[in-house]
């Protein structure tokens, strides 16, 4: 049974937690921009955390259901409506055949997820549903296996966790935490001071590949040429013009720009949701702290 795209959005796609094991061939991992919201939607519907999910960016696609489904909307609040009637986030929603889901305005956050109960029957590439560069077109279909849509009516995902995750993503004044990278030591003192004290913002030059930031320009003590080496999601690159580019889900596997540091994994979903009009502060953190924060977050989703 299927779900149909009846109007195209700007950059909507199926994503899961990404495709690993092929980066040595230059194949990008892809995956959800905000994996926390994807986990949340899937956990609420009793799916595996790595279950494929629809990722929507505003203005989003308009989606029509051809049969009954249970869905859950998480992440950015784009004011979702089902046949013009507003529906809630972070809770299972029953939809019926011919219902249409649209998103009215980008109230909070940048990336919205629609989790669907049931197994996807769309093709995978290299063990992942995430397909780099493949965006929803009008008439595209998402195929869901009928047999896998049963949901245990007595199960309810912990509402405290829902509240905590939402708060963590959207009402959080903690700086975005980073760990210094190999080129950190090549930054001038002024540049380090700016990076850790001045506000930055995300320019409109931002997509699933990465976000260009605006803020004080940075420089290296001596112009340095680096041999290209692997980068990760969250890598903060210094471009030759002094601006910062942060790599996101569709990042290249190898980079030759100065690698200033990495945003810690637990803060990446929050970074992905920051809108252009908001200011960002960075702070340094320790490796052990990053690991503890991630493990604590992950533990809340294991059931």
């Amino acid at each position: 049974m299927s779900i149909k795209i009846i109007k195209k959005g700007i950059a909507d796609s199926i994503q899961d937690q990404g495709r690993y094991g092929y980066q040595h061939l230059g194949i990008q991992p892809n995956g959800c921009m905000d994996y926390l919201s994807a986990w949340l939607g899937n956990a609420i519907l009793q799916n595996e955390l790595n279950h494929p999910i629809l990722e929507l960016h505003f203005p989003t696609a308009q989606i029509q259901f051809t049969t009954n489904h249970t869905i859950c909307i998480t992440g950015a609040n784009f004011v979702p409506v089902l046949n013009e009637k507003s529906i809630a986030l972070n809770t299972p929603i029953q939809v019926s055949a011919m219902d249409t889901l649209s998103m009215l305005q980008p109230l909070e956050g940048k990336t919205c997820y629609v989790a669907i109960k049931g197994n996807f029957e769309n093709p995978q590439w290299l063990h992942s549903y995430s397909y780099h560069g493949k965006r929803f077109e009008k008439e595209d279909q998402i195929l869901i296996d009928d047999q896998s849509q049963h949901i245990n009516p007595n199960f309810q995902f912990n509402s405290v966790v829902i509240e905590k995750v939402h708060h963590f993503l959207f009402n959080n004044h903690t700086p975005i935490r980073i760990i210094p990278g190999p080129a950190w030591q090549d930054l001038t003192e002024d540049s380090i001071h700016h990076l850790l004290n001045s506000p930055y913002s995300i320019t409109p030059h931002a997509n699933r590949m990465g976000f260009q930031l605006s803020g004080p320009s940075l420089s290296l003590t001596t112009p340095n040429a680096y041999l290209s080496s692997a980068v990760t999601r969250g890598t903060i690159q210094l471009l030759p013009n002094g601006s910062i580019f942060v790599l996101m889900a569709d990042h290249q596997t190898i980079g030759g720009y100065a690698n200033l540091g990495q945003i810690i994994l637990v803060d990446l979903p929050r970074f992905a949701q920051i809108k252009t009009e908001h200011l960002i502060k960075f702070s340094l953190t320790k490796l052990a702290t990053a690991h503890n924060l991630y493990q604590e977050m992950y533990a809340q989703f294991k059931h």
Binding site: G21, Y22, H24, G181, P182, S228, T232
Partner: protein, 242 residues
């Protein structure tokens, strides 16, 4: 986290990757050690390792935090010990490995003007005849030092200084798949049509990236490659893009 052992530097890259690096030089001997370490770690089938990415003088191990660091109280100490122990056992085992020299892969390239978009201007710039440029480009055995930018895009070196040339200041909107380009000391093949700034001097009839899961990238880091010139007629005969 950063530590050194023998000639290796081991450092964490963010919170979910670990880098093993040697001296930052474009050197076939260094690359050989990197690819040997790649094979060694791969053969260990370590739980939680998501990717191993070789490039020039480094090998980056990407891991899943919850699996790789399961129940480790002091993750920083654990990563340091893990990295050092890995290098020690690698260096020990390595002496028992025979160095199997890679076969040289001979790659056909048609340098005809219809494919070699920048050949005329390169010949003018360097005051070297097109025939000589082709000879100079075909003479070396190139190493694949890195694959990235696009799935299957190979970074090879080293191009003879006589024909080294910078990238275009303004990249082309679309470089055809199979195009062979040069940029500074590097030469490479575009696996698919995309924007690109390298100077294009020919085209291979080989498909070098095929998304079919059993095919993927035709080359891997550490491969040795030599180009040889073919005519347009030969190109049409081999052409895998048909």
């Amino acid at each position: 986290m950063r530590t050194s052992i023998n000639k290796w530097t081991i450092y964490s890259l963010g919170d979910h990757a670990l880098v093993f690096a040697l001296t930052p030089q474009i050197d076939p001997a260094i690359l050989h050690k990197i690819t040997a370490l790649h094979q060694f770690i791969e053969s260990k089938k370590i739980n939680g390792v998501l990717d191993l990415i070789p490039s020039y003088n480094s090998l980056t191990l990407v891991f899943d935090i919850s699996t790789f660091l399961q129940n480790k109280d002091n993750s920083t100490e654990y990563m340091k010990n893990f990295g050092e122990a890995l290098i020690i056992s690698f260096e020990k085992e390595k002496t028992e490995n025979q160095h199997s020299a890679n076969e040289i892969i001979k790659v056909p390239v048609c340098y005809d003007p219809i494919f070699a978009l920048d050949m005329d201007s390169l010949s003018d710039e360097k005051q070297i005849s097109i025939a000589s440029i082709i000879n100079i480009h075909c003479a070396p055995i190139y190493q694949v030092y890195s694959i990235g930018f696009l799935p299957g895009f190979t970074y090879m070196g080293t191009v003879d200084p006589q024909i080294q040339t910078p990238r275009h200041a303004q990249p082309r909107n679309a470089v055809p798949a199979g195009s062979v380009g040069i940029a500074g000391p590097q030469t490479g093949i575009y696996p698919s049509e995309c924007p690109g700034g390298w100077k294009i001097i020919g085209k291979t009839p080989w498909v070098i990236f095929d998304p079919a899961p059993t095919q993927l990238s035709r080359f891997k880091v550490g491969d040795q490659i030599q180009f040889y010139p073919i005519t347009q007629l030969e190109f049409d005969k081999i052409n895998e893009y048909k």
